[in-house]
Symmetry: C2
Subunit: 169 residues, 2 copies
């Protein structure tokens, strides 16, 4: 059986070593806190204003300010800065915490589309950092698609008479 990270690499086209090239330099020291705050603010401004209702609706139960804070605190922690996320919320547990959301291939691509635009809108992020970050984001997005598929495995518990369809049927 393929591991989570093997599937993530296959689907994203980004190897684990390229994805974690973010660890070769300290991106937090290079870019500073404000750059991460700006990036996440630009990203979620796009997401919450997305023309595609199916994608926007994934975030409908979260407050935009919370989504921004969760994201930049995780990025700061993961890219060499202080462990802001864990101090407030504990383990990132990316797969576990994305469990409520339908992280499909299509949703991953839409997320990445907005993130690419958000990165391009922050001039403080140099070209090399941008490539490293996009590789990390792309691998991570598809890692979460892999994680999302684990949920469906459980729903395959055999039900007779097609009774595991939604209750409305």
């Amino acid at each position: 059986m393929q591991s989570l990270q093997q599937k993530a690499s296959e689907w994203s086209g980004v190897s684990t070593s390229d994805a974690f090239a973010i660890d070769e330099t300290n991106l937090f020291e290079l870019l500073g806190l404000q750059t991460f705050v700006t990036l996440s603010t630009n990203f979620y401004n796009r997401v919450y204003d997305d023309d595609e209702e199916w994608f926007r609706s994934i975030f409908a139960n979260s407050k935009k300010e919370d989504a921004i804070q969760n994201q930049y605190e995780f990025f700061v922690q993961r890219m060499g800065g202080p462990p802001l996320y864990s101090q407030r919320k504990g383990h990132p547990a990316l797969i576990g915490r994305h469990r409520p959301f339908p992280v499909t291939h299509r949703a991953a691509e839409r997320w990445l589309h907005h993130m690419q635009q958000a990165l391009d809108s922050v001039p403080e992020i140099d070209a090399d950092s941008k490539i490293k970050m996009m590789n990390f984001f792309r691998h991570t997005a598809f890692f979460l698609v892999t994680g999302d598929e684990l949920k469906n495995q459980n729903q395959g518990v055999p039900c007779k008479h097609g009774a595991n369809k939604p209750a409305a049927v």
Copy 2:
């Protein structure tokens, strides 16, 4: 609804801030790689040799050497050292990766029992580091119990005629 980390704190008796006091000092620099290797080796020697068959059997499909390496690489990465785990395997994704295992309250307590013994068998670990590490381990163990319970929520998909019982029924 309680968050994952709130439940973990309630069940473990360890607050998020006590659990992540491991970030106040760089435990990797203080203790060194070999100490972590020794700790994980002592831990899994106990686990794979446990008298309690129900607990030992949780690990039956993993090779002991792999379990040791996964564990010390994660500890090293999380406690201030190089990102050995992510370079090899990607995101820790603690809840997602523990999904195959039945992480019950009883299993968490047994894991912690062995970890306390393993910590006590490594003289290089000073008393203050030991307290910080045990708080982190205790909170994390119950964070994973919380994550394990999420699995069961999915199995509650309504099936008519009691048909979501195991196929043998």
